[in-house]
């Protein structure tokens, strides 16, 4: 497998779907003023109103904007996982994580609230639990490609020592995960930890399903991983300004001697450009 990922998202249908959902569901919800359905608090929604469906809803949309941004970026970074597993397995793992994290969070929430000293009321919003579960898979199966050091000469005044800071190519995703957890406070950190444990258990087989369970309605066409060979090669090459011979010939045969037909998008842009 090449170290270079295919460009764009057209080989990552699940990643694309998740990113679009992460952004569009909150937008539609705020347009229709129904964002509050995605908030889950133990009291009053579960204890008083018995709105158990909120267990299913709360991971579908993040309530505040910064969470939406971070979650979208994380889905984008997790596209490596889709490439590694293939669409079908990736989607199945997401579904499993969703199921297990929701169950574990709900059960542990009930258990903790049994003691009278301390109540855990607020649940995280957005796909934080799923992402934390996937984070384990990411760390486990994605190799580290390079690392680099940041040298800070005397960062804290003239008497301090030189600071040496070792970072690798995954530091962006680590930072995003930390931000995501901190952004939701204690709830984010604690439920993030629980979800990460879920990821570990799913991977180790303690929670069954990661090998056997596959979502049934997906056909075989989806069951392939994004590759860098074949079509994706063409796109990478094209962007480097060296069009492959074959394609150009095809175009020439279609439209002999003409300027190529402009697609609709180009026509729009040309209106404003010229």
């Amino acid at each position: 497998m090449s170290t270079e990922t295919p460009q764009g998202l057209w080989q990552f249908p699940i990643t694309k779907f998740c990113m679009i959902c992460t952004v569009s569901v909150p937008i539609v919800a705020s347009l229709s003023d129904s964002k509050y359905w995605f908030v889950l608090n133990y009291d009053p929604f579960i204890t008083t109103y018995r709105q158990y469906f909120r267990y299913i809803l709360f991971q579908l949309a993040a309530v505040n904007e910064s969470d939406v941004a971070i979650i979208t970026l994380l889905w984008y970074n997790f596209r490596q996982l889709e490439r590694l597993m293939g669409c079908r397995k990736y989607l199945s793992i997401i579904a499993l994580s969703w199921f297990y994290t929701t169950t574990i969070l709900a059960i542990s929430n009930k258990l903790i609230n049994l003691n009278p000293l301390f109540t855990w009321n607020r649940f995280p919003t957005g796909a934080l639990p799923i992402l934390l579960a996937l984070f384990h898979f990411y760390k486990e199966y994605t190799p580290q490609i390079y690392e680099f050091e940041v040298l800070l000469t005397q960062p804290f005044g003239s008497h301090s020592k030189q600071l040496r800071w070792k970072l690798n190519d995954q530091f962006v995703i680590n930072a995003l995960i930390i931000l995501l957890c901190l952004n939701q406070g204690l709830t984010g950190i604690s439920s993030g930890f629980l979800s990460w444990l879920c990821g570990v258990f799913i991977d180790k087989g303690l929670f069954p399903g990661s090998e056997k369970f596959r979502l049934p309605f997906l056909n075989d066409r989806m069951n392939r991983s994004a590759t860098t060979i074949a079509n994706s090669n063409v796109t990478t090459n094209n962007s480097e300004g060296e069009p492959p011979q074959g394609e150009l010939n095809e175009e020439e045969i279609e439209e002999p001697g003409d300027e190529p037909a402009r697609p609709l998008g180009v026509q729009f842009l040309d209106t404003f450009r010229r």
């Binding site: 229709s32 003023d33 009053p44 909120r54 026509q267």
Partner: protein, 752 residues
């Protein structure tokens, strides 16, 4: 730009002008300062009296309340100058001897309007209510003279610093006619109730706070009442504070102006029943409410020139009204349920409130009386949904509208994709899409205007405006530009020539240089925005026209704007498509060129998308726009649209010109024709009657009229342009899908 001394001075002067605008109270001159001080002194003085008043004392020197109805009946010539000789200032009773209301009205309100019993009423009644109003009498009661102090008047000259003293009486005013009288018998009324539960003690209203400590019993409201006759020829309105008795569902509203300081009258007028102890308690509580409002809003110190001028206008042009309303109780709810409902409406969380079954805010009975105009009006059947529920309904409608717009954008894109060559775009009608563009663009502007008014609906309104704007200015205008560009050839050409398809090309005066898309687009965008601004102004102003005129205008506009397929039908007839049967016989290339320009998906979809809102507004009785119901008009409109689509379909089946008589259809320009020998020789024809195709540089064998041996050559294999240049059919047709210009001499080409 170099900054020298002069520029610096200019900038400083400019900044001075910017920052030296009137301060918060809007005072701009010494005269206005004195005016405002006089007003403030007057209010301070009156408030001092109000402060010392108890439930058994009469009003003394308070503007508008100096005379009682009884005083005027006794002596109609009496002037409202405090103190009035022989007037009893030491007692109070709810009778015409002390009040500005005649005893008949007082009894009517006691018996038929206000209830005594306590019940469950919604504490929060922000809403807009609609209903009927009936005139009880406009000549039976004496008019109480309410003078306007002269310090309100604007100065006579610039040197005047001191406002005039004294007062003017109605007999000295010009005759305001219907403004000071109600002449219709029945009409419509709109009551807008909003809560006035917060007040700010500064001009900018940044630090608003709740002031009401008795909000479970008494609420202060802001009321706006508009009423007019059914044809909306005569309109009246009243604005003022109101006190709402939550326990009994009674509302008392009074207008305030330069001649009537009603804010001091609420405690007395809230008590119409004579029970002593209860009325004393009521008086004290209402007085406390108003005192809290007075202190929280710092009433006197936040008076501005704006309120002064507004009150002066109101005093001149409007009657003062005292309004008594009785709400219908929400008997099916407990106070706890109502609290949950209120919380859910103001701060939705998904509580179990069952909002879909919430009853309307309903005024079971109501009475308006104008003491200075002597007009008594009764209202009935006034009801409406809670404001928050109304907002929810509108939001759902807006979301549905956004869906329609998205569907329209998708359909337009497929249509544009279907006609992406100049030859096929040429068959489209410019005016067909102009009409759609006008509607969408005006809608976008109306949405933008509305988004500034309805703050709660800002997001969906802006989203709708955005969708409309994208549809109108990006997609439709882009399409219009390409249609316009492809039809430039036909400018300056008569319709008969067009029907004939440029047979006599030598008559035409056309520019050889066709303007490029950029200049076309700038001119079209300019035209679009100009039309949009004009049409939006017309539409917005039409909402305030009298009903008959407005209805006529509306019906005419809707009918005209729903005739958008008519230009396309005419365009089809001009271009003259072949009937479908004949098209099928032709080879695939010709078939592609000759297909119907409009996709059926687009025609049907667009018609449905554009007629759906009209159907909703005209047939659904309680629609959000409160538009009247007229099923007949909608049926006619649908039939009219259906007729247009049927004609379009018949043009597809029978040929575009089937309804034109045969003699009016001359032959169109034919690219496939034989050539005269002289022409061939002129074009450098070789001995075997061939010419070079300027596109592919190969020989074209020609059909020459004078030479019989060339007659076996297929005339469809080459094309002769109006400028007598010859090309292969394939070569020229593929060229014509990019430009309708002759490749050799750039003369315009008639489209296929």
């Amino acid at each position: 730009m170099e900054i020298d001394g002069n520029t610096l001075i200019f900038i400083i002067v400019l900044l001075f002008l910017f920052f030296s605008n009137p301060s918060g109270d809007g005072v701009t001159s010494q005269y206005e300062y004195n005016q405002l001080q006089t007003l403030k002194d007057q209010f301070r003085r009156e408030h001092l009296q109000f402060h010392n008043m108890t439930s058994d004392l009469n009003f003394q020197n308070i503007t508008g309340l100096k005379l009682s109805y009884h005083d005027i009946v006794e002596n109609p010539e009496l002037n409202a100058t405090y103190p009035i000789e022989g007037k009893d200032y030491e007692h109070w009773a709810a009778s015409d001897e002390y009040m500005i209301l005649p005893s008949e009205i007082i009894n009517e309100i006691k018996q038929n309007v206000w209830n005594e019993e306590k019940n469950v009423f919604p504490p929060n009644i922000t809403s807009t209510l609609h209903g009927q109003i009936t005139l009880k009498s406009n000549d039976k009661f004496q008019k109480i003279p309410m003078p306007i102090p002269r310090f309100y008047e604007p100065p006579d000259d610039f040197s005047q610093n001191r406002p005039k003293s004294g007062e003017t009486y109605p007999s000295e005013w010009p005759n305001y006619g219907e403004l000071h009288n109600v002449t219709f018998d029945r009409g419509e009324i709109v009551v807008q109730i909003s809560a006035a539960s917060v007040a700010s003690s500064s001009y900018d209203r940044k630090t608003e706070r709740f002031f009401n400590t008795q909000s479970d019993k008494w609420r202060l409201l802001q009321l706006q009442i508009d009423f007019s006759d059914n044809s909306e020829q005569e309109k009246h309105s009243m604005t003022g504070r109101a006190v709402y008795d939550v326990a009994r569902g009674r509302i008392l509203a009074m207008s305030q102006s330069a001649k009537f300081h009603s804010i001091f009258a609420f405690p007395h007028y809230m008590n119409l029943d004579g029970k002593e102890e209860e009325s004393k308690a009521t008086f004290d509580e209402v007085k406390q409410l108003l005192d809290e409002y007075w202190n929280a809003s710092d009433y006197v110190n936040t008076l501005t020139m704006g309120s002064l001028q507004n009150w002066y206008d109101l005093a001149n042009y409007r009657c003062e009204y005292v309004v008594f309303l009785q709400l219908e109780p929400w008997k099916d709810f407990t106070p706890d349920q109502i609290k949950i409902i209120d919380d859910e409406l103001t701060w939705p969380l998904g509580r179990q409130a069952n909002l879909s079954h919430l009853p309307h805010v309903n005024i079971s009975s109501g009475f308006l009386y104008s003491p200075d105009c002597g007009v008594a009006l009764q209202l009935g059947g006034v009801s409406g949904p809670r404001y928050e529920l109304q907002i929810r309904t509108i939001r759902i409608h807006l979301l549905f509208g956004i869906g329609l717009l998205a569907a329209q954008i998708y359909l337009l894109l497929t249509q544009m994709h279907n006609t992406n060559t100049p030859s096929s775009v040429n068959k489209m009608s410019f005016w067909c899409f102009s009409m759609m563009n006008l509607v969408d663009g005006s809608l976008a502007l109306i949405y933008v205007v509305a988004s500034g008014i309805f703050i709660e609906l800002y997001l969906p309104l802006v989203m709708s405006a955005f969708a409309c704007f994208i549809l109108a200015t990006v997609f439709e205008t882009r399409y219009l530009i390409s249609i316009y560009a492809s039809q430039l050839n036909e400018h300056n050409v008569g319709i008969m020539t067009l029907l004939r398809g440029n047979a006599h090309h030598e008559e035409r005066i056309t520019p050889t240089v066709i303007p490029d898309e950029a200049s076309i687009s700038s001119s079209l965008y300019g035209r679009l925005f100009f039309t949009l601004v004009i049409s939006t102004f017309v539409i917005l102003s039409s909402t305030s026209w009298p009903r008959d005129l407005r209805t006529m205008f509306e019906y005419a506009c809707i009918t005209v704007l729903n005739s958008y397929w008519i230009p396309q039908i005419i365009r089809n007839a001009i271009k003259g498509n072949e009937p479908r049967r004949r098209r099928h016989l032709e080879d695939s290339q010709r078939q592609r060129q000759n297909k119907m320009p409009l996709l059926w998906k687009f025609v049907i979809g667009t018609s449905i998308i554009r007629i759906t809102p009209v159907i909703y507004v005209f047939t659904y009785p309680s629609n959000v726009l409160r538009h009247h119901k007229d099923v007949r008009f909608v049926v006619i409109l649908i039939l009219w649209l259906f007729f247009q689509i049927a004609v379009l379909y018949s043009q597809d089946i029978l040929g575009a010109r089937w309804f034109l008589p045969q003699y009016s259809i001359p032959e169109g320009y034919s690219y496939h024709k034989g050539m005269a020998l002289a022409d061939v020789l002129e074009h450098g024809g070789s001995s075997d009657y061939c010419v070079d195709c300027a596109i592919c540089m190969n020989d074209i064998p020609l059909y020459v009229n004078e030479v019989p041996e060339t007659h076996k050559i297929d005339r469809n294999s080459y094309m002769v342009t109006p400028c007598s240049h010859v090309f292969h059919t394939q070569c020229l047709e593929s060229w014509m899908s990019y430009k309708l210009q002759c490749p050799v001499c750039r003369a315009p080409l008639p489209p296929l």
